[in-house]
Symmetry: C2
Subunit: 424 residues, 2 copies
């Protein structure tokens, strides 16, 4: 029996949110409750879900971990928990930076904590341009996603709707494949002075763009060319970082050290991480709340500590291999790929993909789309073999079901998750 | 006797932060502790401060309010407290939006919750440009401060160091005085199509730029011209909004309704507030954590409720008038000005201003600089006459002391707050 979504309590809230949230369009047809455990959460109607979407990689440790609840409890007898952190320092700021520097790639030894992944990217761009001094343009990649603020968005090309009509900073785009190396070299050859090139920014695995994995040649080649020409090389690891791929940073797996890394999501705050040679003049970068959300920083710190203590990177690698292996066996899906627990596969087209995600949800499994017709499979780092078996069972049965060209959804769910659109 | 700052515990943390925070330059010479009450807080060395800086307007209700602590306590038995809020809805999102809409200016009936003031501004720009469709440039003001992400920063002109070397979106600048009306009209006359003008953005009171207050003529004139020409008019109320000036929004005091408002700081999250006619196509705007930080949104909600229940806007107006009256009596300061509890005055020059702020701090009073030689006086909304009297007493004695041209600071404090620089 499948779930009838959204439940009545959720529907009421979603309908009212739809009237007030100007960005509201296709949220999942459920409202989160405080109940959950491990990889499972309950919505406010009591429906239980196996979460293989991890709050878009923001929740690596799942639901109601006792150690993380304990952190929040420590902050329940004080106010405020959010400070103007660049002016009024809190110890949590130092604690998180010290722990973050322990796991940062070699050569990256300072960071600036901010409020989101977009802000992390913006600050990497700024640190790069301040060093270059004569930037006339930056370099990014086709199908990239770096965030929604106008600087980060200028580097983004994943979907037209995200950019249309918006003023942008000048960015040149490279193909996200090995041809990029020739294109970049040509660009350098035809640019009067390489100090006019503000930065090169890349995701080691494109997230929103479709979980496409950069080749070793591409990443090593970019590192080599940017080093030779003194162009700051930024790895955007907002989604890939903090252990999602089985190492702290995906760039490690390519054997390269970028000049700057943007991080967020699993870290609980944003961070622009850089070598200290990028430290700019006083006043260059700041943020009222940056480095000031004591509780978010404490949770970020505890997250790193737990990943270390429980050896969760080992589990990410182990379960990642198991999950890939199991998905290879599934019929009606293709192009199974991934690193660690950052895994995806494709359906034949967008409509079929959307059907697939909705049907999985009705069967209690939360997945997330990306790219044109891809599905992300990104469980928390604590996921077990049993949970993977359960998820793959649902994936298998749903893939078969939606492979029928006559398949249609019915019911209230069609107001959500572009279900109406895919049925049209 | 003055305080010897920073205390030894604070100094240790600040020194280590300085080695890791790439943005670290002149934080206050103290580290916040969890202890405080009302307008007073203690640092980790036990020094007590009267806070007339309110975490840069982010803390309107002071320290350790029991009702606000109660909110945090409610969240201490659950994890996570931070969701991917545009995809996975939480009830706190709806609750805050409903309460925010009750206090929003007439005609503004939807909002998008984000992670910071900068993101609030970025999203106002995007909503405006999506509506205009053919933007070739935006319009902002000299000395403006709208945030640090590259879109918001392009509209910012308060200090060169904040922008130098950075790629920008095209913005035309108007003077922040009544001449702006003629300049804008000329700009419109010489622009082929007004749909090429993406937006006009203004702070009703410039914050970082020096607490300069827009005239009634300027604000009303801008509203009239932008309406006549169908140009989106954005009031950036990140600092002025949420009651700081004695009404929920400073724009109310000018008798105008902007098309969009950016809010943050006292709201605890960022918000782009707009008329529903600005609702863009699905996918235009989003944010992983936007509308998803359950605890921050719950604190924002409780903040609005407390301001209403305790009639704190009345107190803001009443104590604002009292504070202005008391400051008019103070010698060696000039240009006392303000609305509600958003008050400032000037010292003769930057060096004297910095001396002044440091010396007040050593006397236990926290103030904040802005502009070239201005001092912000922005206590929490709960401030009492007695606390104002105490602050003015310190301000009076310090103003006299630093008016001596031979005045110099000594001690450890000189590593902080540009003290070394002002002594040089």
């Amino acid at each position: 029996m499948t779930l009838d979504l959204p439940g009545p309590k959720s529907q009421k809230i979603l309908d009212r949110l739809n009237k007030l949230n100007i960005a509201h369009y296709d949220p999942y047809p459920l409202v989160m409750s405080q109940h959950g455990s491990g990889c499972y959460f309950q919505d406010i109607d009591g429906n239980l879900f196996l979460d293989f979407a991890s709050q878009i990689c923001s929740n690596p440790l799942g639901y109601n971990d006792p150690e993380l609840k304990e952190v929040i409890k420590r902050y329940s007898y004080r106010f405020p928990i959010k400070f103007a952190g660049q002016d009024f320092s809190v110890k949590e700021h130092l604690d998180l930076l010290e722990e973050l520097m322990k796991i940062a790639p070699k050569g990256l030894n300072m960071a600036f904590l901010v409020n989101s992944g977009a802000e992390a990217v913006e600050n990497c761009l700024k640190l790069a341009m301040r060093k270059q001094k004569n930037s006339e343009f930056g370099v990014a990649f086709e199908h990239a996603f770096h965030g929604r603020t106008l600087g980060a968005l200028s580097c983004t090309s994943s979907r037209l709707i995200q950019k249309q009509n918006f003023l942008q900073i000048p960015i040149k785009k490279l193909p996200y494949d090995d041809n990029a190396l020739d294109v970049l070299q040509n660009l350098i050859n035809t640019t009067k002075d390489t100090s006019h090139i503000g930065f090169v920014i890349i995701e080691p695995i494109q997230g929103e763009g479709g979980y496409t994995i950069a080749s070793r040649e591409l990443m090593k080649g970019l590192r080599k060319i940017t080093k030779q020409n003194d162009i700051p090389f930024i790895c955007d690891e907002v989604q890939t970082g903090m252990g999602r791929t089985g190492t702290w940073w995906a760039s490690e797996q390519y054997g390269i050290n970028p000049d700057l890394i943007s991080a967020a999501k699993a870290l609980q705050v944003g961070a622009a991480i850089a070598n200290k040679s990028y430290r700019p003049q006083a006043g260059t970068i700041s943020s009222t709340w940056g480095g000031g959300h004591a509780l978010d920083m404490a949770i970020g710190l505890k997250t790193i500590e737990i990943i270390k203590k429980r050896k969760l990177l080992d589990n990410v690698r182990k379960q990642g291999i198991y999950l890939l292996k199991r998905l290879y066996e599934v019929r009606h899906i293709s192009n199974v790929r991934g690193m660690g627990l950052m895994i995806a596969f494709d359906l034949p087209n967008k409509t079929r993909r959307n059907h697939f995600i909705i049907e999985c949800l009705k069967n209690g499994l939360v997945l997330l789309g990306c790219g044109e017709a891809s599905v992300r499979v990104i469980p928390p780092y604590i996921v077990t073999e049993e949970e993977i078996d359960r998820a793959v069972e649902i994936i298998q049965s749903v893939a078969l079901k939606v492979s029928d060209p006559a398949f249609k959804h019915t019911g209230k769910i069609c107001q959500y998750l572009t279900c109406g659109e895919v049925n049209a």
